[in-house]
Symmetry: C2
Subunit: 328 residues, 2 copies
C-alpha cells in the first residue's frame, strides 16, 4: 500500500504539499497539483482515514456528552446536533453519563488523546477546572465552565417567570414544581428559583418536589408521579419538565381530576412527547434545534482554531398555549 510519502517522492514534492492538495487547503501551483494528482492515480494511493487523521491530528468525530440519551430533551438535542455536525462533515459520538460517575473524565481523556476533535457537554459533573485544563475545543450546554469555554443556553429565568405568571393568571394559589438538584450548578436551575419567587410574591404557595440527582428515566418519572396527586391533594397547579408533566396529566385523568378546572399544568422543554396530551399542554419551549446549531457552530470555530466571537449564547424561550391552563 502506498503512503503519502511515496506520492510525495513520485511527484518530487514534500509530503506537506501532497497534504495541501488532499485537504484542499493552502496554495499549490496548478502544475504541481497536476503532478501530485497523477502520482496519486499512478500509485493507486487511497488515504487510510486513520493515518490521514493522525497526519492532520483530526478525527472527524465530535462527542456529545449528555446525562441520558432517552431523556426526551437530550434525544432531540443529540438528534439535531448530529444533523448539524453531518453538514460540517463530522460524525457524532454519543456519550451518556448516567450509568457511571466518572464517565465524563473518560470523555475528557478522549479529547486529550485526540480520539475526538471536540466535545459538546450537556452533562457536567466535574469541576470547572477539569474541563478548562484540557485546553481543547469544548462547548457547554447550560453550564458556565469559565471564560475560555463557550456556553449555550436559553433564558431559563424568563422560562421560570413565564410559567409562574401563566399559572397565577389561571388562578392558581397552591402550585407544585418538580426540580432536579444538580451536584454542580446549572443555569437551568435558575428557572425554579425565579418560579418560586414569582409565585410567592403574589402570595401563593409553592411546593418543591426535589427529584433524585441524575435520575432522568421514564420509569423514574412514572414512579414519582404515581401517587403525587394524593400526596399533594390541595395543589391547583403543576410545573415540570415535559415527561413529568405528561405523567401528571395521565394521573389526573385516571383519578378524575379535571384539567384545567381543578388542576393546571405547565410543561417545560417543548419536546415531541407533549403532542400526545389530548388536552394540549401549555409548554415553555426551548428552541432545541437552535441550541444544537449554535453549539455546533461555536465548536466548529474552535476546531478550526478560531476564537469564538461570542462566549455566551442565550436564546429565548417561547410559550405554546394549550388547554391545560385555559378553560375554553
Amino acid at each position: 500500500m502506498s503512503t503519502i510519502k511515496d506520492v510525495a517522492k513520485h511527484a518530487n514534492v514534500g509530503a506537506a504539499t501532497v497534504s495541501r492538495v488532499l485537504s484542499g487547503k493552502g496554495y499549490v501551483k496548478a502544475e504541481t497539483r497536476d503532478r501530485i494528482t497523477d502520482a496519486i492515480h499512478e500509485l493507486n494511493y487511497t488515504p487510510n482515514e486513520m493515518a490521514r487523521n493522525l497526519f492532520y491530528r483530526k478525527t472527524g468525530i465530535v462527542a456529545v456528552s449528555i446525562p441520558r440519551l432517552s431523556h426526551p430533551f437530550f434525544t432531540e438535542f443529540v438528534s439535531e446536533v448530529e444533523a448539524e455536525l453531518g453538514k460540517e462533515g463530522y460524525q457524532t459520538m454519543v456519550c451518556s453519563t448516567w450509568s457511571e460517575q466518572n464517565h465524563e473524565q473518560r470523555y475528557l481523556d478522549m479529547l486529550e488523546r485526540q480520539i475526538v476533535d471536540g466535545i459538546i457537554f450537556g452533562s457536567h459533573t466535574l469541576d470547572v477546572e477539569q474541563y478548562r485544563k484540557v485546553g481543547r475545543p469544548i462547548v457547554a450546554l447550560d453550564r458556565d465552565l469559565g471564560p475560555e469555554i463557550p456556553c449555550v443556553a436559553v433564558d431559563h429565568e424568563e422560562g421560570g417567570r413565564l410559567a409562574a405568571e401563566i399559572l397565577l393568571q389561571a388562578g392558581c394559589r397552591k402550585v407544585l414544581q418538580f426540580r432536579g438538584k444538580g451536584e454542580t450548578f446549572s443555569p437551568s436551575e435558575q428557572r425554579h428559583d425565579v418560579f418560586e419567587k414569582v409565585i410567592q410574591k403574589h402570595g401563593a404557595v409553592c411546593y418543591n418536589y426535589i427529584t433524585k440527582w441524575n435520575s432522568l428515566s421514564y420509569s423514574y418519572y412514572a414512579e414519582i408521579t404515581e401517587h403525587i396527586l394524593e400526596e399533594y391533594p390541595d395543589i391547583d397547579g403543576v410545573f415540570a419538565v415535559d415527561a413529568i408533566a405528561m405523567n401528571v396529566l395521565r394521573r389526573a385523568e385516571e383519578q378524575n381530576i379535571r384539567v384545567p378546572q381543578d388542576l393546571k399544568v405547565v410543561a417545560y422543554d417543548g419536546t415531541n412527547i407533549t403532542q400526545f396530551a389530548s388536552c394540549g399542554v401549555t409548554t415553555i419551549c426551548q428552541p432545541i434545534s437552535q441550541l444544537a446549531s449554535e453549539s455546533v457552530r461555536l465548536l466548529m470555530e474552535m476546531i478550526r482554531g478560531e476564537i469564538p466571537r461570542e462566549k455566551n449564547v442565550k436564546l429565548n424561550v417561547t410559550v405554546r398555549k394549550g388547554r391545560s391552563t385555559m378553560i375554553e
Copy 2:
C-alpha cells in the same frame, strides 16, 4: 514525544512485545514485562490513542446506523446499544440515515476505511451485496443481509397475529392498520401481512394506511392522524406503532370518540411514550434492551475474529394489556 519503538529499543525488545504488554494480550515473561514497564515510565511514554489504534487496526468505535434517532424505538435501541457497548469498552457513533439517501454507503465506507470497528445496521436501504462485500463486522437489525451477516429481530409475524387476535376478541369488525412501505424488504413488515390475513380470515375488514417511506418524525405522525378518524369514520380498531397509536388516542379524545367502547387501539413496539396514555394502551412489546444486547454480543464476536455461533436471533414479543382494548 516517545513512541512505541523508543520504548521497545530502550527495553531491548521488539515493538510487538511492547504492544502485548500494553494490550494485556499474549504471554510476556515477568522480567521482560517489568523492563518494558520501566522503559514506559522512564520515557514518559503515553500511547497516542490514534497511533495505537492504527497499530492494532482497532478504533474502539462502533457505529449504529438507524433511520432516525428521535423515533422512539430507535432512541431506546441506540440508548441500550450504547450502554452495552460501554460495558465492552466501546464508544457509540450514531449514524442517522433519514436526511440523505446515500448515508449508508458512507457508513460502509467508514467501516472499510477502519474509522469504526463494526456497524449495527438498523436502517438498510442498500442492496444486500453492498453490505456483504465489505467483509467486515456487521450485524443487521430486522433485515436478512445474507448468510454471512447475523440478523437480530423479534418474531414480527407473531406480533401481527397477536394484535389481530386482540382486536377481533374485543369485537372489532373494521380495523385500520398503519404500515410503512420500505424500499427494501424487512422482516418487520411481515407483521402487517399476518395482521391483515388474520383479520380477513375472521370475515372482518382490514384497511391499510401506507405511511411515506422513511418518514418517521413526530410531526409526520401528527399530520397523518389529524383527520384520520374522519377519513375512516366506520373503523372500530386501529393497529399502529406507538407514536401513531398515541396520536390516534389523542384524536379520539378530542373528537369524543370513546376508547375502548367505540374504538380499540393496539400499539406496536412498547416504547416509553406509551406510558402517557391515560387509558393504558394495549401494546405488542419488542424486547428492545435484549435486541440491543444480542446485536452487541454478535458484533463483538465478529470484531474479535470469531464466527458467531448463531446467524439469526429471533426474540419473542410480549403483550401488555391496557384499557384501550378492554372494557373494565
